[in-house]
Symmetry: C2
C-alpha cells in the first residue's frame, strides 16, 4: 500500500477507499500497518446490524433505509456479509447488483459485499477491520447486513451499536429465531412482509416473547413491507429511539465490549500464525508420529507441545 | 468417571457407552484421561461420512443402509451432527426419533445425535472424540451424518474413510453443491429422490462435472429413492468399491491426515484455554484500556500480548 493511496484516501477518493478495503480484506502485505495508521481516526460512525433468516428481505430493507439517511445528508456504508453456504440466501448477490445500480452516482453511499472464503472465524474479524477503514474514511453510518443462521453472522451483527432482527410472519418462525439466538441480540424487531401470512398472530407471539425477557429496553416491533416502501420511516424512528436509550454511556459500554471481543480474536488468530511456523509444524509431525504409533494419546501429545510453546 | 463405568464399558454395556459419550461430549472432569485410557483400542472402525444439503434425505438413507450392514452382522454406530441453526434441517430430530424406534431392540446399532451448543469449532472436535469412544467400544462401522451447509459440517463428514454426498435432482443444485465445496470431498455421489425432478439431466450434469476433476478415483453416482428402498444395495456396493480402491495404504494415509487435523485442533483449543487464564485476562484488560484510549492500535496491543506469552 503506497503513501499515494493513503493520500487519495484522505482526499475522500472512493477508489482509494475500495483499494484500501481490498488490501485489508485480502490481508495484503502492510495491511496491519495501514490499520495502525488509520486507527486514531476511527470510532465516529454509528453501526447498525441487520440480521435475520434467509428470505426475510434484509437487502430490500437496507435499500429503503439508505435513502432516508441520505435525505439527512448522512453518509452511509453498507457491508453485506454473505454466508459461507450457497444453499441459503442465493438472492443476495442479485439484490446487491440492483442496489449498486441505484446508488452508483451518489458519493455518500458505499456498498461492499464480503464473502467468507476460508475459515468462518475470519469473516467476523475481517468485517470489523473493514469497518475501521470505513470509519476512518468518515462515514456517518455503517450498516452490517448478515444472514443470521450461523454464530459468525450473528457475531457480526451483534458487534453493532443497534441490532435489527428481521423476521417474516410465518408460524413457528419466532421459535426458530429464539433457538438461533436472534431474540437475545435484537434491539429492534422488524416484521417484514407484514402483509403476508398470519401477521397479527405473529406480532402478538413476538410481543409476548419479548416482554418475557425482562430487559431494561423492551425491543420495539416494527411492521414493514420493504418492497412497497411501507414502515421504513418507523424503523428509522425505532433506531433513533434506541440510540437515545443507550445514551453516551451505554454506547461507550457497547463499543468497549466490542473492542474487547475484537482484540481477543486478533490474539487467537495471531497465536495460530505464530504456532504454525516452521518449528511448530516440525514438532507437530514428530508428535503425530508418536500418536499414530499409539505411544502416546492425542491429548498427551498436545500437552507436551503446549508446554513447550506457551509461557 | 468411575472405574466401574469403564469396566461395564469393557463388558459391552450400552448404558456405559452412552454414559462415557456424555462425559466426552460435555467435557466432564476426567474426560481427557478417559480418552487417554481408551486410545490404544481405537482405529478399527470404518468411518463413512454422509453429507448434503437440508432435505436431501440423508437420514432416510442411513435408515435403509444400516439394516444391510446388520444383515452381515456388522455393528454400526450413527453419529448425527445437527447444524447450529434451526432455520435449516428441522426434520432431523423427527427422523432420529423414528429411527431410534426402529432399532431399539438391536444391540448392534447405536445412534447418537450431537448438537453444536456453543462454538462451531467445538463440534468437529467433539465428534472426533466421540468417534474414538465408539471405536474403543468395538463398532465395525461409524456413520457420520451431517448437513453439508457449513464448513464445520463438511469438516466432520470429510474426516471419514469414505464420503457420500447426497443430492436431490433439482436444477442448479449441482452448482450449489460445487460452490459449497461438496464436489471436492465426495467419494460417492448419491442422487436421492431420483424419481423426482429432472433426474436424468441432473445425472448427466453431475457426471460431466465429476469427470472434469481429474482424480484417480472418479466418484460413482448412485441413484436412490430411500423412502421406497430403491438403490440402497448399489450405494453399499459403491462404498465397498471405494474401500477396495483406497487399499491399506490409501486408508492409512487418510487416517493419518485425519489425526493430524485432530491434533492441530486440540492444540488450538488448548492454547485458548491456557491463554485466557487469570493473567491472560488481566493483560487483556490493561491492553484494552490503552487501545480504547487510542494510545496503541489493536494490532500493536496484540503483538505485545503474544510476545509475552508465546515462545
Amino acid at each position: 500500500m503506497t503513501q499515494r493511496w493513503l493520500q487519495r484516501f484522505d482526499e475522500k477518493d472512493p477508489i482509494a477507499l475500495a483499494k484500501l478495503i481490498s488490501a485489508v480484506e485480502n490481508r495484503l502485505p502492510g495491511y496491519q500497518e495501514l490499520l495502525d495508521a488509520l486507527y486514531a481516526r476511527t470510532g465516529n460512525a454509528y453501526r447498525i446490524g441487520i440480521t435475520g433468516p434467509p428470505g426475510a428481505g434484509k437487502s430490500s430493507l437496507v435499500d429503503r433505509l439508505v435513502p432516508l439517511y441520505r435525505a439527512e445528508a448522512k453518509t452511509v456504508a453498507v457491508l453485506a456479509c454473505d454466508p459461507t453456504s450457497p444453499f441459503t440466501g442465493g438472492a443476495l448477490l442479485g439484490d446487491r447488483i440492483r442496489m449498486q445500480d441505484l446508488v452508483t452516482n451518489d458519493d455518500g453511499v458505499f456498498i461492499r459485499s464480503m464473502a467468507t472464503r476460508g475459515s468462518l472465524g475470519g469473516l467476523a474479524k475481517a468485517a470489523q477491520e473493514v469497518a475501521l477503514v470505513l470509519e476512518a474514511f468518515g462515514f456517518d453510518l455503517i450498516l452490517f447486513e448478515t444472514i443470521g443462521v450461523g454464530q459468525v453472522e450473528i457475531d457480526i451483527a451483534q458487534a453493532a451499536d443497534s441490532v435489527v432482527v428481521v423476521l417474516v410472519p410465518q408460524s413457528g418462525d419466532v421459535i426458530q429465531a429464539m433457538k438461533a439466538g436472534l431474540m437475545e441480540i435484537g434491539d429492534i424487531f422488524c416484521i417484514n412482509k407484514a402483509d403476508q401470512g398470519e401477521a397479527d398472530l405473529f406480532y402478538k407471539n413476538l410481543q409476548t416473547m419479548l416482554s418475557l425477557a425482562m430487559r431494561d429496553w423492551i425491543p420495539p416491533i416494527v411492521q414493514t413491507v420493504a418492497t412497497a416502501h411501507q414502515g421504513i420511516e418507523k424503523l428509522k424512528e425505532a433506531l433513533e429511539k434506541h440510540r437515545i436509550f443507550l445514551g453516551e454511556e451505554g454506547l461507550r459500554a457497547r463499543r468497549r465490549e466490542r473492542l474487547r471481543v475484537f482484540i481477543k480474536e486478533l490474539i487467537e488468530d495471531g497465536l495460530r500464525v505464530r504456532l504454525w511456523d516452521g518449528e511448530g509444524l516440525r514438532d507437530l509431525e514428530s508428535q503425530l508420529e508418536r500418536v499414530w504409533g499409539k505411544i502416546i494419546s492425542p491429548h498427551q501429545a498436545v500437552q507436551e507441545l503446549l508446554q513447550k510453546r506457551v509461557r
